[in-house]
């Protein structure tokens, strides 16, 4: 609306700042806070080796005497002070959270990426081709939607783990986990992309591309895909929160990532064991991190959904 009164600002960044979506972002305090929290945790996880005061995976730096140090209090034997205390093995809780968030986020992003690629490809094919391919895929999707996705991830993980030879189980666990969570969540993408593709494929620009003789794959990827990406981004953001929670749940149950690579869920599992002896900090801080991360990403997804919904503008 303002374009008629105001000249369009020059420069890519200035134009992005002036766009509708940026305006909606700037004026939504919830979205800004959620984005700041998410980016903060993601950056902290990426730069964990630089930020973490200790390397929790280096046995040489661990001192069992430092175990169970409460937060901000000097240890009774060594006098060392840790911000968030230490766990049973004397590992700095703050450092393990940074590394744990790293693994949780890696699994989350990888699972979403896997689900996205799978869902988008199947959705594009189903929507563009139609026919029996479409009916079969949508039937499978219908059936899959009747199962809760955490249950599915758990079942797929259990079955897949069975097929892997025992020697590789630990090494492969993280990849199996990614595939299991991804497989439990592809349906959302496939359904949305299929619906959008069915609308787009009859539009003139697609017909024009077809008339020129463009290859169907090129039409799908270059012309249709960019136009169906909006809703996919919303699902992917909310899906990231769900994937992080799914990973944490499976790891908490002791069937997720191996103990040598503790994620936030594993840390909460360890913390629960020491609750009765009064070492609350081993449980509390990883739980808060997980909650903050999941909640922030979720709120960001909610905002994105509203911002991209033309009916709500």
């Amino acid at each position: 609306m303002s374009e008629t009164h105001k000249p369009r600002p020059a420069g890519r960044f200035a134009r992005a700042w002036d766009s509708d979506i940026a305006y909606s972002f700037r004026t939504s305090p919830v979205a800004v806070v959620a984005a700041v929290v998410s980016v903060f945790i993601i950056l902290a996880a990426i730069f964990a080796p630089l930020i973490a005061p200790y390397d929790p995976f280096n046995p040489a730096s661990l001192n069992l005497m430092d175990g169970f140090t409460p937060p901000m209090e000097p240890n009774a034997f060594t006098g060392n002070v840790y911000w968030l205390g230490t766990d049973n093995q004397g590992r700095d809780v703050f450092s393990t959270i940074l590394y744990g968030a790293r693994i949780s986020l890696f699994v989350g992003f990888a699972a979403v990426l896997f689900a996205m690629v799978l869902g988008i490809s199947l959705g594009l094919i189903a929507g563009y081709r139609g026919g029996w391919v479409d009916s079969l895929l949508m039937r499978v999707a219908d059936v899959q939607l009747t199962f809760p996705s955490i249950l599915l991830a758990l079942l797929i993980f259990g079955v897949a783990r069975g097929f892997i030879p025992p020697a590789y189980r630990e090494v492969m666990a993280i990849w199996v986990l990614i595939v299991a969570i991804g497989l439990s969540d592809w349906v959302q993408y496939a359904r949305v992309v299929r619906g959008a593709t069915m609308v787009e494929k009859n539009k003139e620009y697609v017909q024009a591309a077809r008339v020129i003789g463009a290859h169907p794959v090129k039409i799908l990827l270059r012309h249709i895909l960019p136009n169906v990406m909006g809703p996919v981004l919303v699902i992917a953001t909310i899906g990231l929160a769900l994937a992080i929670i799914a990973e944490a749940t499976l790891s908490f149950l002791g069937v997720g990532v191996p103990p040598t690579q503790p994620s936030l869920g594993t840390l909460i599992r360890i913390g629960q064991q020491y609750l009765f002896s009064g070492e609350w900090w081993i449980l509390l801080f990883p739980s808060i991190t997980l909650l903050a991360l999941a909640l922030a990403v979720n709120l960001l997804g909610d905002w994105l959904r509203d911002a991209l919904n033309p009916r709500l503008r």
Binding site: S135, R139, V143, T146, F147, P148, I150, L151, L154, L155, F157, G158, V159, R161, G162, F163, P166, I245, A248, T249, F252, L253, G254, V255, G265, I268, Q272, L275, F276, W280, L283, S287, L290, L291, A294, L295, N298
Partner: protein
């Protein structure tokens, strides 16, 4: 009508067959069944003989059908880890899961409808807004974290309730052991039931609230008030009654989810149910138990969905028109 039912039943059968195929593949390709049955000193000839006797040399299809016909009568063999027949194991742990699911399902429904009606009638009051806020937290917290936090507050800090197990159980003859009849059994059930039911409760509550707000604006409610009916009669006799159809459907569909999420709750509270059995079987790659659980949970979901679909079809005539118009 008949075609619709047949199609839905056929679809359910296909789903069950697919799950059975996965379960069978687990049996067939995970490890060598012979190696787990005979000792180290068995000769090759003895092994071959056993292979033949067990039918492991038969074609894949024949083996699959043998597996199916056994699965139908509940024969899944013997657990690798516990050395007991799988069906016996599952049956002995089923009562624990079902009792927990029943209590949390009923609690979720009662409190969900109660809070839903309350927040719809007293919109804007401080009690309503705090209920809504708590429900928002209930939705965003992962199930296992709710359980852990409840243990922390009520078992560790306040020491009011036990944090694990079923307490004392009473044998009801046969395989059903119940926790309802003892004090410690009932106390042990509270925390797991809240953990399992909280998410369903918030779901039902939000649904009832939304439906109530909608119905309360309807003309027949205004008319009922104009007739001078008491608030109580209007709110409960007219408004609530009309919101309950979708609520009951959703609750029915959620039954499957309650059973599914009992895996998580049972592990948190070391509740000796089927879900905990499954998690342990995944950890130790106990194939027979995994396969049996897979089939059981698939059966529960398929049956619930089939019933709900058929009921919907009977209750809602619009669905019949839509389906034939869409031409699927």
């Amino acid at each position: 009508m008949l075609a619709f039912i047949l199609r839905r039943v056929l679809q359910s059968v296909i789903v069950m067959l697919t799950v059975a195929l996965v379960a069978f593949a687990l049996f067939r390709f995970v490890g060598d069944p012979i190696a787990s049955m005979v000792g180290q000193e068995a000769t090759l000839a003895e092994r071959m003989e056993l292979r033949e006797a067990l039918g492991l040399n038969d074609p894949f299809i024949v083996q699959f059908f043998t597996f199916l016909s056994r699965a139908v009568v509940g024969d899944f063999g013997i657990s690798y880890r516990l050395q007991q027949p799988v069906m016996e194991l599952i049956l002995s742990r089923l009562p624990a899961t079902l009792e927990l699911a029943l209590v949390s399902g009923i609690a979720a429904f009662v409190f969900g409808v109660g809070f839903g009606v309350y927040t719809a009638l007293r919109r804007g009051g401080w009690a309503s807004s705090s209920i809504m806020t708590v429900s928002l937290i209930g939705v965003s917290l992962p199930t296992f974290l709710i359980g852990v936090l409840l243990i922390w507050v009520f078992a560790v800090e306040l020491q009011w309730l036990p944090s694990f197990g079923r307490g004392d159980v009473v044998d009801l003859g046969g395989w059903w052991r119940t926790g309802f009849l003892t004090e410690s059994g009932r106390m042990s059930m509270i925390l797991p039931a809240i953990t399992l039911g909280l998410y369903q409760m918030t779901l039902i509550m939000r649904l009832v609230r939304a439906e109530m707000l909608e119905v309360l604006r309807a003309d027949y409610i205004k008319f009922a008030r104009a007739r001078g009916l008491s608030n109580r009669a209007v709110n409960f006799g007219h408004a609530l009654k009309n919101t309950l159809v979708p609520v009951i459907t959703i609750t029915g569909l959620q039954l499957g989810s309650i059973i599914a999420f009992s895996i998580i709750t049972e592990t948190v509270f070391q509740w000796p149910g089927v879900g905990a059995l499954f998690i342990n079987s995944v950890r130790f790659v106990d194939v027979p138990v995994m396969a049996a659980y897979l089939m059981l949970i698939a059966l529960v979901f398929v049956v619930i969905n089939l019933i709900v679909d058929l009921l919907y079809y009977l209750v809602d005539p619009r669905l019949r028109l839509d389906r034939s118009a869409a031409g699927h």
